[in-house]
């Protein structure tokens, strides 16, 4: 088999299977075969990620992490799943039963919707839309609704607080998230994810020269995008909506058993989806990072990049403490927003200058300058000092 055949193996199998079925149901079979693998692969990825995350976090804190179930603890998600399934499902008496029931389902469903537009390999995208990015962010916004439903439907003050925090946070960070991807849209000239990936194709020598992350605006945009993505997926240090120590898991306080597990699933699916989008927008999608590595199938590259970003999420989670609400908002509106605006500006310059080292420097200047100025201004002359504890010592 040639490398190309291996690369396209899933596409070929799907076509073959579709052709085997009777003509009437062929469209339905085609849809099913596109969707089903995603419904299987990403939840399994979730299972693997949870155990890797727990082990990784453990190691960062000099612990072992789970190591009891199966070899090296890798069957832990199975045990967790069984546990979640056989737990009692408690619905509070005062809850709005319907909303309470629908919220986790809606969360998972919208998270799955986002995968429709992410190309996981060459010719491997469920819906090749012209306005894929718009669709992605629209589906992402529906997640906020489901979170608010969970908080409202539970009839619990903690849930409500968590949901309000979540909505405030997600709306604030949606602005920088979308603005930083606008820079990519400006340069690629398209909202379609497949086109964006195509625009980043090609190598300069062995280097993936066209990846947007290797431009000044792309690099800054990528970092801003990832920060906003962390906030969007309610990950630490932006996990205020959950805040176990303050509001006992926030909007899913009142959920138990499998619905609780669904919230976790939805959260991780959201994180995978947004990382997938980051891979697509900035890291060349499914393309190999070096020209001589193209023999490895494109879908392996996509998932390798995805897992690298997830590892980054875990690393950040193991490092930073939770922000305070005012810090969160200040960061979004006083730092992220101006930075993304200047990234768009820089991308505009990039578009109209002839390529070369001069362009690179000229585009980098406004970003670095604003970063430096903002850093100074936001610190407001305060110095970070080592904190002394008067009574503890």
């Amino acid at each position: 088999m040639t490398t190309q055949a291996v690369d396209q193996i899933f596409v070929t199998i799907k076509h073959w299977l579709v052709l085997q079925s009777p003509a009437v149901i062929q469209p339905a079979v085609s849809v099913l075969l596109s969707v089903l693998p995603l419904l299987i692969i990403f939840p399994s990825l979730f299972a693997v990620t949870t155990v890797l995350e727990r082990k990784g976090l453990g190691r960062m804190q000099n612990r072992y992490g789970p190591n009891r179930v199966g070899p090296y603890g890798f069957l832990q998600p199975l045990a967790d799943g069984i546990k979640a399934l056989i737990k009692e499902d408690i619905v509070p008496v005062g809850a709005d039963k319907l909303v309470h029931f629908l919220a986790p389902l809606l969360l998972v469903m919208t998270a799955f919707l986002e995968y429709a537009v992410i190309p996981v390999g060459r010719n491997m995208v469920v819906a090749d839309m012209d306005s894929a990015l718009v669709f992605f962010f629209a589906a992402g916004a529906a997640m906020e609704v489901s979170i608010f439903m969970a908080g409202w439907g539970s009839r619990n003050k903690y849930s409500m607080l968590g949901a309000m925090r979540a909505v405030a946070q997600m709306i604030s960070y949606e602005a920088p998230l979308i603005l930083s991807s606008i820079a990519v849209v400006m340069i690629a000239g398209s909202l379609s994810t497949t086109t964006i990936v195509e625009r980043q194709a090609g190598y300069w020598g062995v280097w993936p020269y066209h990846w947007y992350v290797f431009t000044p605006w792309g690099m800054a945009g990528f970092v801003l995008f990832m920060i906003a993505a962390t906030a969007e997926s309610n990950r630490s240090p932006f996990d205020l909506p959950e805040g176990e120590s303050e509001i006992i898991a926030g909007y899913f306080t009142e959920y138990s058993g499998f619905k609780f597990a669904l919230f976790f699933l939805g959260e991780y699916l959201g994180m995978f989806a947004i990382s997938g989008l980051a891979v697509t927008l900035f890291l060349g999608g499914w393309a190999a990072p070096l020209s001589f590595l193209t023999f490895i199938p494109s879908w392996i590259w996509f998932f390798a990049k995805l897992m690298t970003l997830i590892a980054g999420f875990i690393w950040i989670r193991g490092t930073l403490p939770r922000l305070r609400m005012d810090q969160l908002m200040n960061f979004a509106w006083k730092f992220m927003l101006p930075m993304t605006l200047v990234v768009i500006f820089s991308a505009g310059i990039w578009r109209f200058m002839p390529s070369g080292i001069v362009r690179w420097v000229v585009c980098a200047i406004p970003i670095v300058l604003l970063y430096w100025l903002l850093g100074r201004a936001l610190m407001g002359g305060r110095k970070l000092e080592k904190r002394t504890y008067r009574f503890a010592e």
């Binding site: 000099n62 490092t319 970063y371 936001l378 610190m379 970070l384």
Partner: protein
Amino acid sequence: MLGIGIIQGLVETARNFFGSYTSKQRLTTVQFPDERLIQPEAARVFPFLVYDTDDWEKGLRCVACKICEVECPPQCISITKSADKKPDYSGIYSGKPQFYPEKFDIDVSVCMSCQICVEVCPFEAIKMDNAFELSTDDRFGGLMWDKQRLAMPNSHYQAIHPTDAAESDAALAEKKAKAEAKPAAAAAAAPAKPAPEKAGAATER
């Protein structure tokens, strides 16, 4: 500059991450059921009833005085005093027959390991054990320990808390010696003058 602190933090966690694979010293976790720490001598979890000789029922030192039942802060001891008396099997009550507990139950789930029962017992009859794996799947009967389950030989006490056990044994031996000396003195003094002996005994007590 902005962000330096975050990078320093990231470096620190990365160092922990890789360090935990290379140096065993970093991992302080004791993998419990496989590895165990040696318990310090003062470790205490749940009381047991001491018995002498090799018959757990007759050898129990407890005389059902109920002091511990009254003093136990969470009230988890329940004792029924016997109607009859049993002979002094342990030899620490100067041969006099004693009451014994017909029923002596302690609720494991309520006991808070405070050791007050041990402190108040005048007869060295109840001591703290250091066994800590007391969980059970029978949450009604299995958590109420009766006197058979509570009974442990004195040798067990000597094994787990050697220092305390030595003190306790010494105290008992002293008591015993005193008790033996008393009848001897009484026997010596009796023919001469019965009255002072009584006064002496009273002051002694």
